[in-house]
Point group: C2
Chain length 164, copies 2
DNA sequence: GAAGATTGTTGTTGACGACAACAATTGTCC
DNA sequence: GGACAATTGTTGTCGTCAACAACAATCTTC
C-alpha cells in the first residue's frame, strides 16, 4: 500500500494537454479524506486481502469463515437464520453451503419439524477444520493490530460493535 | 438494521433435526465479534447503502464520486494516475470514465507530451454537478455521524487516515 | 380447506477486483 | 540509431458479491 505508492511517477498538466512528472502521493484527495466511507472501503480491501492471504493455504474466504463460525456456535440453525444473522442473501447462502458441503465441512439435515428447512451442522472434519481456521484467523487479527495499532483496533471494534 | 433484526423468528434444534423458535439476536456470533474484518464489512455495507440512497437522485455511486473528486482537484491527470491513486484497476477505470464521459461530466483530452495518455478534466457541467454531489455527500456524512456519533466518526477517520 | 406467508432453490442483473492480452507509444541500453 | 523493454489505454474473461424475481414445496392462519 505504502510501498506501491512510493515509486510511481506520472504526469500532471499545466494548461490543457501538457503534463509534468509528479509522484502519486502528490495527488490531492482532500475532499475524500473527510469521507468515512472512502477510508472504510480502502481499509476493508486491505483487511480482506490479508485475511484471504493468511487463510490461503486452507482456501477459506471471509464469508465462508463467518458461515462456519455461526454454524459451529449454533448447530441446527436453518439457512434462513444464518442468512439473516450474517446479512447474506439466502440465495447466495445456497451456493456457499453447496461449496462447504462438497468439502465435507457442513451437512444439511432435513428438519423433522419443518420439512421446508434444513438444520445446518458441522461435520466431524468440519469441526477440526474450523479450529484450524480460527487459529489462522487469530494470526490475521494480529496483522491488523500490527497495521493500525492494538489500541486503535480495539477502539475500532468498539465503535462498530452494533453492526455485528 | 436494528429494525429488521427485531421481529424475525426461526428455529433452533435440540438434538439433530428438531428445532424451536428463537429470535435472530439470540444467535451467538461471539467468535466473529472479535474480528475487525467482520465489523468493518458490515459497516461498509451500511455506509455504502446510505451513500447510494442519499445520492440516488443524481445517480452517483461511491466509486464514481471518488473519481470525479480526484479529477476535480487535480485536473489533467492521466487515467493511470487516477487509477493508482484510488486503488482502482485501470481496466475498470476505462468503463467508469466511459460512463462519466457519456454523461458529459468528464472529458478525455489527448496529451501532447505523451500521446499514449489522456489528460482528464471535468466539463463545465461536470464542475457544477460535482458541487451538488459534494453537498449530498456531506449530508450522507451527517447520517454517519448520527449513526455512530460525532466523536466516533472522527476517531474512525483518524485511525484509518493512512489508508486513504 | 383456502389464502397467504415462509424456505430453499434457480436464474438474472450489475458493480467490482484480478488477470491476461493487445496496439500504440515512449524509454532504455548497447 | 536501432533493438528491446516498459508504459498507457483498451478489450476481454473469470470469480465474488449484493439485489431481485420467480418458483415448488411446505407451513400458518383464519
Amino acid at each position: 500500500m505504502t510501498a506501491s505508492a512510493a515509486q510511481t511517477s506520472l504526469r500532471k498538466l499545466a494548461g490543457n494537454g501538457a503534463a509534468r512528472r509528479i509522484d502519486t502521493d502528490e495527488i490531492g484527495v482532500d475532499a475524500l479524506v473527510g469521507h468515512a466511507g472512502y477510508a472504510v472501503r480502502r481499509f476493508q480491501i486491505w483487511i480482506f486481502q490479508d485475511f484471504i492471504r493468511t487463510l490461503g493455504d486452507v482456501d477459506i474466504r471471509p464469508t465462508q469463515y463467518s458461515v462456519l463460525t455461526v454454524i459451529g456456535a449454533n448447530p441446527g440453525l436453518s439457512q434462513m437464520a444464518v442468512a439473516k444473522r450474517l446479512g447474506i442473501e439466502r440465495a447466495r447462502l445456497v451456493h456457499l453451503l453447496d461449496s462447504l458441503e462438497q468439502r465435507r465441512l457442513v451437512k444439511r439435515i432435513k428438519s423433522k419439524t419443518d420439512r421446508r428447512s434444513h438444520a445446518l451442522h458441522l461435520t466431524g472434519q468440519g469441526e477440526t477444520a474450523l479450529a484450524k481456521f480460527k487459529r489462522l484467523a487469530a494470526e490475521h487479527e494480529r496483522h491488523v493490530e500490527a497495521r493500525i495499532g492494538k489500541a486503535n483496533r480495539e477502539r475500532l471494534l468498539q465503535i462498530l460493535a452494533d453492526f455485528t
